[in-house]
Structure formats: C-alpha cells, structure tokens
Symmetry: C2
Subunit: 211 residues, 2 copies
C-alpha cells in the first residue's frame, strides 16, 4: 500500500472553535466538508486528544472559520501547535464577537454550528453540525492545505489525521538544520538573530539543532 497518495487529497485550513467552561477554545483543522444543503450541514474531524474535542462534546456547538492564504503565521502557530488547556488562544487575536463567539477578523468567513450527530472513530471524532449562522468577511482566496505545505512550508502536528510520520525524513541537504520545538518547522542554514519561526512565531533561541 502506497500511503503517499493520501497526501493528494485536497483540504482547506480552518480554525474550529468552541466553548469549555465558558472559555473560548479552538484548534486548526483541515478535514471539513459540507454534507447537505437543506438544512446546511458540515462534518468536521477532530482528534480526541484535542481540548477542542472535549469542548464540542460538552457545549454541542462549534464555529468553523475559513483561513485565507495570507493568514498571519501566528494564527497557525497559536491554534495549530499550542493547547487551549494552557493558553487563551484568542487573547492576542484581532477578533469581532458574533452571537457570543470570537470570530477572527482575518478569516474569510465563518459558520456557527449546532452539533446534531457525532461519530466515534477511535483517535478522532466526526462532529456533524447544522449551520445556524454564517457570514463572509472578505473575498480573499482560501488557503488550501497544499498551499500551506508548499508555500508556507508548514508541517502537520502529530495529532492531525493527515500526519505522515516520515514527513520530515524526505529532505536531503548538507546544511545545518534547526527544528522549532513548538510547531516542528525545520529551518535549513544559519539563522539571523531576529529570526522567528515562520509558522508559529517562536524566537531563534528555542530552536534545536537537528543532528
């Protein structure tokens, strides 16, 4: 079986948010599809170890925000590679509040959903929601997962359904490599002093040399 073909499936890049004990939580997801158009329903897949999974389970609501190609790396870094158990991910974000939910001002738009079904898939849960409100905030182009990998040189966190363990092993080069311990981004060659991780914004000093 050649698992590489799974990488050729097309996805977007989304922030999925919910509430846990009245706190706003969220994470990055790429597995989002519309299921029906009347009523409008969405299916999303979230790792059971994600704090956002518990939050959706309890609050029975979630919001899906669509990220554009020019989204600030800090959004990916914060929502994709940190946990809402420890960090208030919305704290430093530019947001607008809609129906009590924080919406990222830089998102292309959002869909607020009421949970109507969920499917246990062991490591992941498929949450199916009915869209109860939705709006478009810009006419920018949606970031695809392929764009994130090719242009932004992004990596997948190990909890993503699309993570392939050998992802980092494909590169060959004689330059020194440094890995960001927060998001897994690998930088090749020397780093200037003001270098920050292009994915999560971590400073040069936290990078570890790859031996």
């Amino acid at each position: 079986m050649n698992k590489d073909v799974l990488r050729d499936l097309s996805y977007g890049v989304y922030v999925i948010s919910s509430k846990k004990d009245k706190r706003d939580v969220g994470c990055i997801a790429n597995s989002v599809i519309q299921i029906t158009s009347s009523p409008i329903t969405l299916a999303i897949s979230i790792n059971v170890d994600n704090f956002t999974n518990q939050a959706i389970n309890e609050s029975k609501e979630f919001v899906c925000m669509i990220l554009p190609t020019d989204i600030d790396n800090n959004v990916i870094g914060t929502f994709g590679f940190k946990t809402s158990a420890e960090v208030d991910k919305f704290e430093k974000m530019d947001i607008v509040e809609v129906d009590g939910y924080p919406i990222l001002k830089d998102a292309i738009g959002y869909m607020r959903c009421k949970l109507i079904k969920q499917v246990d898939m062991n490591t992941h849960t498929i949450f199916i929601g009915e869209v109860i409100s939705a709006d478009k905030l810009s006419t920018k182009e949606s970031m695809t997962y392929a764009y994130y990998h090719q242009v932004k040189k992004g990596k997948s966190p190990a909890k993503a359904p699309t993570y392939i363990a050998s992802e980092e092993e494909c590169e060959t080069s004689n330059q020194k490599k440094y890995v960001c311990p927060i998001c897994g981004y690998v930088h090749e060659g020397e780093m200037p002093d003001d270098f920050v991780c292009p994915i999560c914004g971590a400073p040069k000093k936290v990078f570890k040399e790859v031996s």
Copy 2:
C-alpha cells in the same frame, strides 16, 4: 445567514466507484476527507439519489480516485452528469484493473476502501471506509473544486452537496446564452459548428438558448 461563505470551503475532485450487480459504477464527488491514520480511514458524502450510493450500500466497498488538474473533460462529463443506471461510465475510459476494480489511468492515484460505517443524513449518506489498498499513479497536481469552477468554468449538478441554486444567476451580459442540458454549462455568444460542451462533451445541437 450568508450562504456564499460555504463556497470558500476547499475540496478536491474525485471519482468514487463501486459495484452494483457485478457492474462497475461511479460518480464525481468532492466531499472526501481522511479521518484517522491508523488504520487509514476516509469519509465520503454521496447523494442518496446517486446510483453509486445504492452500489456502496450493497457491495460495502468503494474506490476513491483523485483527479488531476488536466483531467479530460469527458471524465467529468461522464461521471458527473450522467447516471450509471443508464450508462456504462467506464466503457470508453482508459483503465487499468486492480483487484477487480477499474482504475482510471489518468487519476493521480486511488484508495480502495471497505465500508466500516455509514451515517444517514437524509439527502446524503456519509460512507466511512477503511483503506485496504492504495497507490499513486502520477505526480500531477490534484484538481481542487475551486480550480474546476475558476479555470474549467464547471458547474455543480443539483445533487451535489455544494450546489447553490442561484449559481447561474450571478452572470450579467448582453450576449446570447446557451445552456448544456446534460451538465448545466452555460456558453455565452455564438457557437461554431464543431462546438462541444467543455465540461461533458455534448455537441452544439443539444444546447438550448437561455431566454
């Protein structure tokens, strides 16, 4: 509620095939996501009125083929806008047989799945399959649904989950318009005698003038 934002979700373009009474059947789908990586599982959404839906229901197997940007329009036209109830969709296709299933030679790759769960969503069924064999056939770029609409000027059939009824009404022009009755493609301006529908390959003579 602004439904337009639903169009900013990102999808690929796939042929989903299965078997019905030992016959190979299939249709176009864009709602395909990976759910888990161990075992590798996929979720797909198929309209209940699609012949392929019945086939998956009965055979408990399906194959997902990933289409590249340069896929022949005839593949989209045949699999997207005709029904396997009336037509042998694989008859004139260039295929290779794998484990008894026809695989389109022009696909980027395929995943053959054993059905492990299904979720009834009224107009659609979510089929969840475990990938039991998979291979990559080329290194071409995957066609995204956005590319299909923007570059190929493709339309969505009314049975697609992402169909928006007002889709055709956004255009304004003084030129005469002709609609393809098979796939819904709208052509503006005069058509040369050898004109064929760029989406489904239908000849000029079947086009109807839009009043």
